[in-house]
């Protein structure tokens, strides 16, 4: 205990030292940027008496542009004010030391005109970053292919191109005491319920943490229920999804250095909607959506039902199936519960491994996984044929859910029901389902009920719930989002 206490004291001293800086001067900057190899201090002589100091971080700025728009014009400058010489569009006056450092580390060049004692900052951010690429997490056959990248400005551009209206607001916040991550809150004024905006703003202002590298980390601080397995923010890297959500009256958070935007409020049913639903013909889209719900139920309950039937309810199995089951189970060393549990854990291991491994080795993994699961396990007498088929079906079924975070929640729910089913059979599954339903009903996403429009009930929203109704009939925005403008069409005069 003594060791930890001592360490804390040293940390406190270090913090105290770094605060005592205030006066803005070249010397002060040099002092604070000491031992930084990429910090540059340049002097440009315009005339005999006039010197311009340039301070910048080499790795953060665009060197070419620096030459083009600052150094070249300045050497030829004859005007009294240096602002008139610089060709860059935005020039910011800097009042104090803190602001100077902030600008410096966000990729600006600091200019100091010693004759006028004037500090200026010219943003010349290094444009290094990924280009706009196809989304890999939410792939679709038809529809727009572009996806967000790590640069928040670029992401806003992609959204603004889809919603070129002045009501689309983008408010910027900074979170993280060390990472200084900018978070952009987007919403449509006069359409989005102002409660959503104020709730999110309030939560962002309460954030007190140092590092944010991903939008999900931001989401963790904004969520109403952190201990739940269900995501309360939709994470998407597709600008069309974001634009559509904004148009319905939701809010969006873009986080710098993350290609994933956060969309809220969402409901449980949003996790089953794919962007392709709105591209396919409505009948086809509805069919696929229903299949997704069925697959969700299958993936969660198929193996628990198998365990329940084989351990507790042999009466309920059709006699033809029972013949096969008794035959395949007669020489197994494990009870159905342990057999299923081991197989499920094994599947999870393979799933996780295939994600982490480089793509070239994943082929080997697939072959080994396939042979081990498919044949060897049965031949070695670890698992029954019937269970292998069911594990296969439920695993593939779980991949149909478009939301990746939901797929993870799925496995946990499956394991929970498995335990219940082995203890109490079908009654256990019923009790477990009741628990899940009760939990879903208690959840909220930015203080909006998570299980609407089913509960609380909004009849009109059912047109885009289990089915995706024809677009021409979806003339009103979802009521459960409480938008300020409900109608999606212009009223005739």
């Amino acid at each position: 205990m003594y060791m930890f206490w001592k360490k804390k004291q040293i940390e406190n001293k270090l913090v105290a030292q770094s605060i005592t800086e205030s006066e803005l001067s070249i010397e002060a900057l040099k002092k604070s940027l000491v031992q930084m190899d990429d910090a540059e201090f340049v002097e440009i002589d315009i005339s005999v008496i006039r010197k311009i100091h340039l301070v910048y971080i080499r790795t953060l700025i665009d060197q070419e542009k620096l030459n083009e728009s600052i150094i070249k014009p300045l050497t030829k400058c004859s005007k009294p004010s240096i602002q008139d010489c610089i060709t860059n569009s935005s020039i910011i006056h800097i009042p104090n030391f803190i602001e100077a450092k902030k600008q410096l580390f966000s990729g600006s060049i600091l200019l100091f005109d010693s004759s006028q004692n004037l500090w200026l900052a010219v943003p010349l951010k290094n444009p290094i970053g990924r280009a706009i690429e196809t989304s890999e997490t939410e792939t679709i056959m038809f529809g727009a292919k572009d996806s967000f990248s790590e640069q928040v400005e670029q992401n806003i551009t992609l959204i603004r191109r889809r919603l070129p209206i002045h009501e689309l607001k983008a408010e910027k916040f900074t979170v993280g005491s060390m990472s200084e991550t900018s978070v952009v809150l987007m919403y449509i004024e006069g359409l989005t319920n102002p409660d959503f905006v104020s709730t999110v703003k309030e939560k962002i202002s309460e954030i007190n943490f140092d590092l944010f590298f991903d939008s999900s980390q931001v989401a963790a601080f904004l969520e109403d229920h952190q201990n739940s397995i269900f995501p309360q923010f939709q994470q998407t890297d597709r600008p069309d999804v974001v634009a559509y959500s904004l148009g319905l009256g939701k809010i969006t958070l873009l986080v710098d250095n993350t290609p994933f935007a956060l969309v809220a409020p969402i409901t449980f049913f949003h996790l089953f909607q794919s962007p392709e639903d709105y591209i396919n013909r409505w009948v086809v889209a509805s069919f696929l959506r229903i299949i997704r719900y069925v697959c969700f139920l299958l993936s969660v309950s198929l193996i628990p039902i198998y365990v329940a039937l084989t351990t507790h309810h042999y009466q309920m199995i059709p006699i033809q199936t029972l013949l096969v089951l008794v035959d395949s189970r007669s020489k197994l060393p494990f009870t159905p519960f342990w057999e299923a549990f081991i197989m499920l854990i094994f599947i999870e291991i393979i799933k996780e491994a295939s994600l982490r491994m480089p793509t070239k080795t994943s082929q080997t993994l697939g072959v080994i996984g396939g042979i081990v699961i498919g044949q060897a396990a049965v031949e070695a007498g670890f698992a029954s044929n019937v269970l292998i088929v069911m594990v296969g079906i439920s695993t593939i079924a779980s991949f149909l859910i478009p939301n990746y975070l939901m797929t993870k929640a799925n496995s946990l729910m499956q394991l929970m029901l498995l335990v219940f089913s082995s203890l109490l059979g079908i009654i256990g599954i019923a009790l477990g389902s009741i628990a899940i339903l009760a939990h879903l009903n208690s959840l909220s996403s930015i203080k909006q009920p998570y299980f609407s429009p089913v509960s609380p009930f909004f009849r009109k929203d059912w047109i885009d719930l289990f089915i995706r109704g024809p677009l021409t009939k979806m003339l009103e925005r979802p009521e459960h989002l409480k938008p300020l403008k409900l109608k999606r069409y212009k009223t005739r005069r």
Partner: protein
Amino acid sequence: MRLHKKICKRLILLFMTFWLSGCAPFTENKLIEEISPVTFLSISKGDKGKLTVSTIMPPLSKEKKFVMSQEVSLLKEGVQKYNLNFYQEMKSGQMRMLVISDELGRDGIMSIINVLLTDPDISPRIYLVIVKGNFDEYLESQLDKDENFDYSFYRMLKHYEEKNQGELTVVNLHEFKNLLYTPYSDPFLPVFKLEEDGVNYEGTALFKDDKLVETISSLDDRIFQLINNDHYLVVLPIQKFEIVLGHVRSKVIVDIDSSYSTMTYTVNIDTRIEEYRGEKQLFDPKQLENMKKDIETHLEKQTHELVKKMQELKVDPLQLGIQTKRPFSKPMEEKKWIEMFEKMDIKIKYNINIDPLTDANSKRQNL
């Protein structure tokens, strides 16, 4: 302290979930690889009023099977004796058939039916079958030839039960119980006869209360299927006229006069001729009409004899007594009805409509 209260409340809730729903958290061990769920039981008469209960063990796995037979005085005692003699516990939740010997049937099967009805494990959909002959011996002889004899037999009954296929009588426990305990009705069961070539369907056993009194077979059984059980027959061969009627569907109208002395039993039949090997020219409407008349009188006579037999035996599987029920009046006592039924004059009338296979009214009639 607050935490303790919270946990306490939750535990009470959990306890009440089980308690109020009547579920015990203690479950029987029913792992399918450790039990042997028998598919059928065969019950016959043993010595000194005892029962002989037998079945094939192990019922579902592919191990070598044998016939297990126990002589007991109580049915459940047999189940317990099985457990003591076999390494797997016997469970009755997958029971699909109950085979009763006709000797036992004649003595009455009420007690057996009641045992089955009160066991929550046993489905009310198990089939009841009467067998003539020694079923145990037959099973022994079948084990080498056909391992899944019990399953094939079950599949056959299931096939004819669904959507009234109109070939044989199939009665399950629920139906039998209803017929047994409902006033103005007597139950009936299918009868199979054991012969050297296999199990053959013989006909329908008629019961007076829970006692087997008569077996009707061949044409009588066909008529019984047609007028009561299925109201449908795939084929109805009438050897007398060398004709086979196919796809026979019937509608029965029963009329009783106010003094309950005469009953008119009208059977309307829609059918078509499937096969004919006689001399008559069926394209001729007159001859066809004659043929129809002949068949009608033949069936009327046969049915009359069948009903007469029922009257003599005082059994009413056709549930004719229901006709005496009137609104706003006290239903007749069953005893009184049976007395009346015995003396009742029952008139049978058949109306046959034969769908022509060819256009019988076309010009070809003169050829």
